[in-house]
């Protein structure tokens, strides 16, 4: 429905333009059911239908954008008609934008996945049945997500699909829990039951006497989920061309050649294999793959259209210049040998609340969370009391990186700030010689 609606709005808008004006439209729409769980029961259940349209009016080198929440009905045209005079007034007051860059070679595309999900009520019933007797807490998000783009040149791009994401934890006691997340486009109640049963088995380990560590350096194995926490920090300006040029990138030393990561590190933005649309807000089609770091050396930044215009480069990303489908190359350590390779040290399943403690040094602090363990001679012997680390990613993924696992996991972002996320990461686990705990 929203696809036809966007086409209608684009056609109507074309008819409202004055000489010398152009536009782009960017639509993000979703029909989502959100069900929160606590104590293995429902905490809050509800549905959200939302559609946000970014209307950018262009005249010469001037631009201004108005975001509108659409109803999906005929009154949306009136919203556009009201927005246009306000944007025209704004264009009178802004300067020419020397870095405005829009795609002028229309490249239309369409990707629509067939609807395949059961009603969310069915999924909730499956979860309640599988969670019976367990201290389960988390959220199920399910439903359709659509993205669309249109412009005055007649370009039209559309992506639409149904998906679910169930992000949950099974609690043992206090802050001790096993955390899991699974997403897909087809619902599998049997796999859900197996996931919960497998997590429940791990709770026994969390009931062992707690190990409290003193601050210091420890060998550490990061599961793909824990590694994801570290790599997410790179997405906070580390991969952006603009931030690099502004000297605000945490990877400044890597990009300048002053620092180097382990030759094992090969990081890419693999948009062609991700869940986010390949088209973006200025109408460009993102490359299927951009090599960001190879052989431990900085190769490419993510370059939005504005940076491309400013620095004379080709755009390869959205204007936010962050990775949406990050991939880290696999290594040669079989996952089932990770504990043996770790020997004695910490097994980190999840990290939490990371931040830069010294951005220029790519130094990061954060906490351990959920099922993290103390390992001796390749055997899990105790759950860890939560520990704070404070260490440089240049070190952890540099000289201290001992191995990456052969197997990789696809981690789909369960976030829903403003709307349901479509970012994902494909990551191995990582073994490091030392991680610095500070508190």
């Amino acid at each position: 429905m929203m696809r036809a609606h966007l086409k209608t709005l684009a056609a109507a808008l074309s008819g409202l333009l004055r000489d010398g004006e152009g536009y782009t439209l960017w639509l993000e729409a979703e029909r989502s059911d959100f069900i929160r769980f606590n104590h293995g029961k429902v905490r809050q259940a509800g549905s959200v239908e939302q559609a946000y349209l970014d209307l950018r009016l262009i005249r010469g080198r001037r631009q201004a954008t108005q975001q509108l929440s659409l109803s999906g009905g005929a009154d949306d045209l009136a919203l556009l008609e009201t927005a246009l005079p306000a944007l025209r007034e704004a264009l009178e007051q802004v300067e020419d934008d020397p870095f405005l860059l829009l795609n002028e070679q229309a490249q239309s595309s369409e990707r629509v996945a067939a609807a395949a999900l059961p009603p969310a009520e069915t999924m909730v019933a499956d979860i309640l049945a599988a969670a019976d007797g367990h201290e389960l807490v988390g959220i199920l998000a399910s439903g359709e997500i659509s993205f669309g783009f249109a412009n005055h040149l007649g370009q039209f791009n559309w992506q639409q699909g149904e998906s679910w994401n169930f992000d949950w934890s099974l609690y043992s006691h206090g802050d001790k829990a096993v955390k899991r997340s699974r997403a897909g486009s087809a619902w599998d109640a049997r796999a859900l039951r197996a996931d919960i049963a497998e997590a429940a088995e791990q709770l026994a380990l969390l009931k062992l006497p707690l190990k409290t560590l003193e601050p210091g350096e420890y060998r550490a194995y990061f599961t793909p989920t824990a590694l994801s926490g570290l790599l997410s920090m790179l997405n906070w300006g580390g991969l952006s061309e603009k931030e690099l040029r502004a000297k605000r990138s945490p990877l400044l030393k890597l990009a300048s050649g002053e620092a180097r990561l382990s030759p094992r590190v090969a990081l890419a933005e693999a948009g062609g294999e991700g869940l986010s649309p390949l088209f973006q807000g200025e109408g460009f089609i993102r490359p299927e793959r951009v090599e960001l770091i190879a052989g431990g050396e900085y190769r490419n930044s993510l370059i939005g259209p504005r940076s491309a215009r400013e620095f004379g480069l080709e755009p390869n990303a959205g204007d936010d210049e962050y990775a949406e489908s990050m991939q880290l190359a696999a290594g040669d350590l079989p996952r089932d040998e990770a504990l043996r390779a770790l020997g004695t040290g910490v097994y980190l399943s999840n990290l939490w609340y990371l931040n830069f403690s010294d951005r220029a040094a790519c130094r990061i602090t954060g906490m351990t969370r959920f099922a993290c363990f103390w390992v001796e001679d390749g055997r899990i012997v105790a759950p860890l009391g939560v520990m704070r680390f404070d260490d440089s990613l240049l070190r952890l993924l540099g000289d201290e990186l001992e191995a990456l696992t052969v197997e990789r996991e696809l981690l789909v972002d369960a976030g829903s700030y403003g709307g349901r996320a479509t970012q994902s990461k494909l990551l191995p686990g990582a073994l490091v010689r030392s991680l610095r705990f500070s508190l």
């Binding site: 959100f34 069900i35 809050q44 959200v48 509108l68 992000d167 609690y171 939490w352």
Partner: protein, 486 residues
């Protein structure tokens, strides 16, 4: 539009134990200048409604931007369907609570003159401050200034005849400068890089924030930081100025006192709390100098309002008095759940949603430390060896809100009761449960400032809300302080 919504809600005649409609309309505009150039102007007009239904002991919600009678009816039926589908499977039987049916109108500071927004003059101001920040200094590699305006109208209607209308305006000025030389980088900002100067009010907030003249001043401070020595390491006194106190309050008092966290709702995402329900009324949270209030009626703070999003009337409440924990940040539903567990806690009006498309949960609003009796000079004079820290730049805390590590943009040594030189990359770490007990001096009203956190994230589905924090400068003893990489 509000009258239309009223009529359509009346026409719904919702058949349920309880039904509310929360309509939210927001107009937003962002002006930004970076590196001497205007950035693309962005505006936002957002409107929609959340229907919430309690029926048969269940709870359901449905949000829609389709505000037609048919659209609202469809949302009501979807919400009721969720309430009925989950009745008997929920963490709480909603037949055990009577939500209020409030009435009245709240007009926030500056919201009556909400038309005033002299865009051209504001862009000129940003360009002028930006140019002043840069000068012709090649060491200044990034410099930006911005203004965000939000005009918000809310209408809350209940099936029992409740009706409140609220109108708010918030303005957030910002300015930041990054300097680079000899491989070293420092950033200094006006009030923080994440919207710390956000407050409710009109154009007067721009002058009050000190935006005029800030360009050169902030650039000078950034250059001082560039050549300053690293912050020393060790246990010492720590003088936190309001631009850091707000973050300290937010992370290690605000979040741990949220009752939904204490009840376990957030354990899968935002986390739990080291505070347990039995602590209220007796637990020594801080030294006897610590007094913390929840006050959504402080009109200039970012999260001021007349009623929360479950219709509870706003009122000032003491959460911590003379260091002793008195009450949690829990709305009507959470306090009712706590009562079922045997804890008769007094709550506050803090059940809030970020927008029409998210349900209300326990959030901070304006959470403040009350002033003490020391001037700034007296605070400094009382320190033999320590560091003053100002303006948060880094924040991290564990999921129980205990082990924290925070960093600031600006540090100054204090020796023998006197302020000394600037230090760069000042950081400190501690544990909430003991940190507040080391509070050894509290500044008076002359050191007090009203600040904001515009992007407080929490909840499943995720929500970002506006939060206000006001605080005097405070001194803590024997804190683990350290600097950045050498």
């Amino acid at each position: 539009m509000l009258d239309t919504i009223r009529r359509r809600f009346l026409a719904l005649q919702p058949s349920a134990d309880f039904c509310s409609l929360r309509y939210v309309e927001e107009d937003r505009e962002q002006l930004r200048v970076r590196q001497g150039r205007q950035q693309p102007l962005s505006r936002r007009h957002d409107r929609g409604a959340m229907l919430t239904v309690l029926d048969g002991g269940g709870y359901g919600y449905a949000a829609t931007a389709d505000l037609s009678e048919a659209g609202l009816r469809a949302a009501f039926e979807r919400a009721r369907s969720w309430a009925r589908a989950t009745a008997g499977h929920g963490v709480f039987d909603y037949r055990g609570i009577a939500l209020p049916h409030p009435g009245g109108r709240y007009q926030g500071q500056g919201s009556v003159e909400a038309e005033a927004w002299p865009r051209a003059a504001l862009l000129d101001l940003l360009l002028s401050e930006s140019a002043a920040a840069k000068g012709d200094d090649a060491r200044i590699v990034d410099w930006s200034a911005g203004l965000v305006r939000q005009d918000i109208r809310q209408l809350y209607l209940t099936s029992g005849g409740g009706e409140t209308e609220q109108q708010l305006r918030a303005v957030t000025p910002s300015l930041a400068v990054t300097v680079f030389a000899d491989g070293r980088v420092q950033t200094r900002s006006l009030g923080g890089q994440y919207g710390g100067l956000g407050r409710q009010g009109g154009m007067e907030l721009i002058a009050e924030a000190g935006l005029k003249g800030a360009g050169r001043r902030v650039a000078d401070q950034a250059l001082q930081l560039l050549y300053a020595p690293n912050c020393p390491s060790g246990a010492m006194d720590l003088l936190l100025m309001p631009e850091q106190m707000m973050l300290q309050i937010h992370e290690s008092i605000g979040h741990p006192l949220e009752l939904d966290r204490i009840l376990g709702d957030e354990r899968n995402y935002a986390g739990t709390s080291f505070v347990t329900p039995d602590m209220f009324g007796s637990y020594r949270y801080g030294s006897e100098l610590l007094n913390v209030t929840f006050d959504p009626l402080q009109r200039k703070e970012l999260a001021s309002y007349g009623w929360d999003d479950d219709g509870k009337a706003a009122a000032k409440a003491w959460l911590i008095r003379d260091g002793v924990l008195e009450r949690p940040l829990g709305g009507d539903i959470s306090t009712a759940r706590a009562r079922l567990n045997g804890f008769a806690l007094d709550g506050v009006a803090n059940s809030r949603a970020c927008n029409w498309n998210r349900p209300a949960i326990d959030r901070m609003a304006n959470l403040n430390v009350e002033p003490g009796d020391k001037t700034f000079e007296q605070l400094v004079a009382g320190i033999e060896r320590g560091v003053l820290m100002q303006t948060n730049v880094s924040w991290s805390i564990d999921d129980s809100r205990n082990k924290f590590q925070f960093g600031c943009e600006w540090g100054q040594l204090i020796e023998d009761g006197e302020l000394k030189g600037v230090v760069r990359n000042p950081n400190y770490r501690g544990v909430s449960a003991s940190f507040w007990r080391s509070l050894k001096a509290v500044g008076d009203a002359s050191t007090f400032a009203v600040l904001g956190v515009p992007h407080c994230g929490k909840g499943e589905p995720n929500q970002v809300v506006r939060v206000g924090h006001a605080s005097p400068a405070c001194v803590f003893g024997d804190v683990d302080v350290f600097g950045g990489a050498a």
